[in-house]
Structure formats: C-alpha cells, structure tokens
C-alpha cells in the first residue's frame, strides 16, 4: 500500500513537470487576456477572437480562463500588481466600481463614440463588448397569455410561476434584484413579497434555473431577451419567447479594461480597439448570445431578427450598485425568507 502511495506521488510529480506551460513563442510578444470560461471555452467566441486578432497583431493572444466573471475579479484582486493579465474581458457594470476602487485598471483612452448601446457610455476605464436585456422567458405553446407589463407580472396573484437565480451567487439574479430596485426603489420589498408565493425556486446559477424551466418546472424563467435566439438559431424552435414589459428592462453590459500593471499597454490598447471592431463584434451574437456593442456592417444574424425588443432600458450606475447592493440584498432576503 505504501508503494502505491509512493507511486501516486511520483505520478503527480511527473504531471507537474509535464503540465502545459505558457511558453512564449520565438520573439513574438504575448498578450494575456483574462476572461471567463464560457467566453474562452469551446462554445464561446474565444477561439474565433484569438484567430482574428492574431492574424493582424504579430503577437500571441493568450486567453486565460477563470470559472466565471465572479472569480475573474477575485483572481485579479488576489494577484494584484503581479498579475500576468494585460486585459480583463468579461466583468459587467456591477463589478466595475469594485475593480476601479481596487486600482486594477487604467483609463483606456479610446473613443467610444458610435456604440450601439441603449444607454450612453461614459466610462473611461472600461469599454463595453456586448450587452443584453434581462427578461422572463416562457414557452408560448404552454403560456398563452404572458403578463403584458411588470406591474401585471407582479400583481397577478395567480400569475405564472417563475424560477429566478440568487442575487448573491448569480449575475442574472443580481440583475433582477437591480431591475426591481430601479423600478420600485423603496417599495422593492413589497414587490418581492408579492412575487414570493409564485417563485418556485431560487437557484445558484443560470444553468440550473434554465434547465429546470426546460424540464417544465415553471412557466417563466429569468434569462435574457436573446435566449430565444439560441432556440431559433440552433434548435429551429420558435416557441420560446421573452416577455417584454413597457416599464423597461434592466441591462447587463459586459466590459473589457486595460490592467494597470500591464507592461504592454500599447498592445493591450490595440486589443481593446480590436474589441470594438467588426472582426470581434461579429463573433458576439451567436458566440455569446448577446447583442454586440457595435452592430457589424452585415447586421445581426437571422436568429436575432425576430427577437422582441424592449422600448426602455434600465441601468444603475456602477457606484450606486456598489453602495446599495448589500442593503438591497437584505431587503430581498427579508421578503423571501418570510
């Protein structure tokens, strides 16, 4: 048995020596971009982005993945000044205040005019690369009369059953909490109390919630207005719809920033310019299933053409979110724990 122990240790040691290491190839500079796994992984736009950027930059683009956007920020904070990251790509506006306060990024100095964002963009540290509206998605074959407004959605006591995500563990969950906050302010607690009986369950992340919805556990699930595009584009199913509320929909804007400690700020800046270019932006819609920050010249893909669009967009300023989130989460908890 102890021989087995020794063998295992030896085996582990060998693995350590042969583990893949980032070796700089020849004299080409390497640009290191930290991003989340869904972006860089097999089903995300990462591979296409890497190929297109490397074709023009005479450099190597190293996409380093973390589990999700949450661990992206944690990782940057843990590494501090020693981080290898030149660019961070995949935070959203709910995290930018924290990143700025921690001194992790420097102003990008780019011209952000001409963005196709539903809100004006004034952030000088981060550039947006894609965005989406949060929305409740439903199966139109099963739910014939979805609520026509947020008010109706809240007030119908026997309205549709919903599945949402926990704002403490999930980005969409946080988005919904901020959505209610933006619409109702001090009355948010009452709204949550009214919704509570119709919440089937609150999940840790988007995947559990969407999976449970597809299994028929609820009438509606919190997701994005772009979710139906996946069903249209890949599965050729048109029965999934997003309910559009005239009061407005809360936005998620995903951003990229130039890391302060980068030793290649010029190369990093050229990557940020690339992020707003046609080559990058055209990979967003059917790669990340979000709207591109700048619509490519060919327009949006066919799967996005039939999507319903909200008329009004809601987005709280990053600093407002940072200062209020704790208290709003307590209100949310208080209303749903009753």
């Amino acid at each position: 048995m102890f021989r087995m122990f020794a063998l295992s240790v030896a085996f582990l040691a060998t693995l350590g020596l042969t583990a893949p290491q980032a070796v700089a190839q020849s004299d080409k500079p390497t640009l290191t971009v930290y991003t989340y796994r869904a972006f860089a992984g097999k089903y995300g736009p990462g591979a296409r982005v890497k190929e297109r950027f490397e074709a023009a930059c005479a450099c190597t683009l190293d996409l380093v993945q973390t589990d999700d956007a949450g661990s992206l920020l944690a990782r940057l904070k843990l590494e501090g000044k020693d981080t290898k990251a030149d660019v961070v790509l995949g935070l959203d506006t709910n995290q930018t205040a924290e990143a700025r306060a921690a001194g992790l990024v420097v102003p990008h100095g780019l011209d952000t005019a001409g963005l196709d964002l539903p809100v004006p963009w004034t952030d000088d540290s981060f550039i947006p690369f894609d965005w989406g509206w949060f929305a409740f998605v439903y199966d139109s074959d099963k739910l014939r009369n979805p609520p026509a407004s947020f008010k109706a959605f809240v007030e119908a006591a026997d309205g549709p059953k919903i599945i949402i995500q926990d704002p403490r563990t999930s980005t969409p969950g946080l988005g919904l909490m901020l959505w209610v906050q933006a619409l109702y302010g001090d009355k948010a607690g009452d709204v949550w109390a009214r919704l509570a009986p119709r919440i089937v369950t609150v999940t840790k992340g988007w995947s559990e919630a969407y999976g449970l919805f597809l299994k028929g556990e609820a009438d509606m699930v919190l997701s994005y207005t772009t979710s139906p595009a996946y069903h249209v584009g890949v599965e050729k199913k048109t029965n999934y719809k997003a309910a559009i509320f005239p009061e407005g929909h809360y936005l998620q804007v995903e951003v990229a920033g130039l890391v302060k400690s980068s030793e290649k700020p010029d190369l990093a800046r050229s990557f940020l310019r690339f992020v707003l270019s046609e080559a990058f932006q055209s990979a967003m819609p059917e790669g990340n299933w979000m709207y591109p920050a700048k619509v490519p010249q060919g327009g949006l893909p066919a799967s996005f053409a039939g999507l319903d669009k909200p008329q009004k967009s809601l987005l709280l300023a990053p600093e407002v979110v940072r200062d209020g989130r704790r208290a709003w989460t307590d209100v949310w908890l208080g209303a749903l724990r009753r």
Partner: protein, 524 residues
Amino acid sequence: MVPGLLALALVLGVVAAALAGLALAAGPSLPVVPWGYVGGVVAFSLWQALVSTILSLALGAGLALALARRTRFAGRTLLIAAMNLATVLPAIVVVFGVVTVFGRAGWLGEGMRALGFDMGSWLYGLPGILIAHVFFNAPLAARVFLAGLAAVPAEHWRLAAQLGMGPLAVFRFIDRPVLLREAPGLAGLVFLLCFTSFAVVLALGGGPRAATLEVSIYEALRFDVDFGRAGVLAALQIVLGLVLVLPILRLGTRAAEAAATGFVEARPDVEAVLPKVLDALVLALGTGLVLPPLAAVALSGARALATLAQPEVLASLATSVVVAIPAGALSVALALAFAGLTRRLRIARARPRAADAVSLAGLVILVMPPFTLAAGLFVVLRLVADPFALGLPLLALVNALMALPLVLRQVEPPLMLSAERYGHLAESLGIVGTDRLRLVDAPLLRRPVIVAFAAATALSLGDLGVAAFFGSGEFVTLPVLLHQRLGAYRMDEAASVALLLALLAFAFFILAQHFSGDGRAGDR
C-alpha cells in the same frame, strides 16, 4: 505511525494554508459579518442536515440488512453498483434527475395525473432537499453498513443457528451491534456532507429560506471579493461542523472483536417471514428512490449521444481519468495512513481521545468550503510557484483530500477489526510495518480498499474541481465540459456528458465488485 503523521500534516497543512492565504489576501481590517442572517442559516442547515442524516442512515441500514440477507437475486450486482453511482454524480446532475422524476412535470406527477390525482408542486422545500440528500447518502450508508455486516465472524452465525435464534434475536445480538458500531462515524460524515451542501439546497429548497453558509461564503468571494469575510465564515463553518460532529463520533463505543476462523456461514434469518417482508419493502423503496433519477439521467443523456464522439469530449475524458486515478490512489493511501495512526493510538497507545481527534481531522476537508480552499491555496502557492503549472497535480491532490472522508469510513473499520482479531498474534510473532499490512491486514482490507478506490476515483471524476476555480483553463475535465455545455444552452449535450460520467463511474464500481469478489458466495 510516521505515514499517519505525514498524512495528518498534509490534510491539516492544506486547510491551514488555505485559511492563511485568505487572511493574507484580506489584510488587517476586520470583516463585517451579518451575524443575524448567519444565525438563521445555521439553524436551518442543522435542521435539514439532522433529518437528512437520520433518514439516510435508516434507509441505508435497511438496505444493508436486506442485501446481507438476500445474497442472490436478479439485479443485485446492478443495484449495488447503481447505489454507489448515486454518491458520486455532480450535484447539478442529481438535481435534474430528481426533478425529472419528482418535479411538477415529472414522471411521478404525470403518472398520478393520468390516474386522476394532481399532486401539484410539492418538491421544493424540505421534501426536495431530503430526497436529494437521501439519494446521495443512503447508498453510501448502505455500503459502509454492508461492509460491516460482511465482516461478522462465521462463529457468530454458527452460534446463532445452534441457539435457534429467531430473526429478532439475530438482529438484536448480531446486526444491531454492527450497525451501532458503524453509525457514529457514518452519521458524522453524512451530517457534514448535508450541512455544507450548496447547489442542491438552493435549487430544491425553493429559495433563500433554505440555504447553507456556503451561499454567503460564495457571495463574499464572488461579488464582494471580501477575502476576510469569506475566511471568517469558512472558519465558522469548520468550527461549527467539527464541534457538532465530535460528540457524534464520541457516541461510538465498541466491544473489541475476538479472533475469527475466517469460515463463511450462512445467516440463519434468511427464511423467516418478517425479514422477507421487510427486505422486500426496503429494497422496493431504495430502488424506487435511486433508480428512477439515474434512469432519467440515462434517458436525457441518450438524446445527444452522438456529441460524445466530439474530440473535446475525448480530451476531457482523458484529462478526467488522468486526474481521477492518481487522486483515487492517493486518497486510499492517505486513508490507510490515517487509519493506521488512529488504530495505533486506540489500541497500542490506549489514547482513544487522540484517535477521535485524528478521525475528526480526516473530516476537516468536508467543512472547508471549496471556493475558500481554492482561493486560499492560490494565494499561498503563488508565493512559491506558478499555480498555472501546478494545475493537474493540484486538482488530483484536492480531489484526493475531498474523497478522504469517504474512503476513511470504509478503511478504518476493517483495519480495527484486523488489529482486534490478530493484533496480539502479529505482535507476538514480531510482524510489523509493511509486513503486517501485507500479511495480517490485507486479507480483511482487500475488498474495502478496492471498493473505496473505485468510490474515490469516481468521486474525483464527478468533481467540478475546486482547483479549476482559479485555474488557467488549460485542462477541461468532464464536469467542466458539462457545465460549459449547460452554460451554452446545450442541455441535451450536457446530459450526454452526465451519462458518460455515470457510465464511467458505473464501470469502476462493477470492476471493483468483480475484483473484490463481492457477491460471490464463499469468497471473502
């Protein structure tokens, strides 16, 4: 003694390093902790963990007795392997499986509706949590109890037959002591597993009413990036978990075993009516709880089976196996070293309290929240090496530690038995060290070790990999691929990865049963 102390140092060292890493990252200011909320969460966690533990152990004991009495029936090997499978599947897969069977639009609900009963939505809340936890843990309990029952000396059975003991007397004088002997350690393990359960409790608990401390720890790391708060909450969870479990472990009083001849004797209570009825009921209940969710996993996985031929699936499969096999081996080696140490403390040194403390240390990794473990280790490792380069070995090491409590539960009892039965003889003959392990302990240990190795390997296969939390993304294991597919709307393709994981773990258990000779009458 020395390997045991080394193993102890490794486990405690990793946990301490992780906490130190968090403290280092947090800086000097004291974190703000929402104590009121934490109190409510802890109260609920305790309640659900207590009920889950009682139900899991009760069903587990019933299943073990039924399987011990019924050594030949069609599908016994399959049932045991399927039960083992339940323990090692990723939480998200089990949630989907349970919902497919017991959910609003699930098999049970639809079946009842067809019969004219509408059950409505009853799953979310305590029922859902309990179903999932019993699904995970009753098979685990059954496995440990069954191993205990299998080690009952033949003399007991012969004596029972000669005395003409009825089924009740057999239970009272032979089975019950075995169950009571294993129960405390098992209860401690299951309690901690349920106390720290996270994704299952949230998804099936219906909302923030049902939550564990891990939610707050995750929040602290994810949105607040507050390492101090994460560290304090993690320390709280560790202390609470251990303080609660220590008295459970102390409950374990046991009479020393006498030497046995090693013959095999049939149980005398196999033909009685009462056990027959009971066993049929328990087997039906256990099968009804465990098999349908597994069948649901298999069925939904079958829809996109073709996607398993994609190169990234094969690459993930290779990565997973390369991590899981050394992790399983390391876990078993660590457990043997641990169990050797506790045995020595208990018997040779007569220090049962110290032995309890060491046993407890073997459980410590269970109460260490994965995210804090990953984040803390990351900080510490960065001081000495590049965590990128350590990816795979780190993953294997952490997985080995995660499986350690389960493996320990299987390896400790037979090692104790062997000392009680043959310890004096071995000492008088001067058999020590590895010779003792090889000559004296091995015959009793062989089966539990093989099964434990399979369990640890399978568990490692199904683990999302806390080391990947801050990893570089160079390696994609099967569970990571599963989550990638889920996150990209590809639910069917994700289900096929889940099926592959299940089949792989299933194969491990079938092989383990084959090589350990379980189910073959007369071979022990």
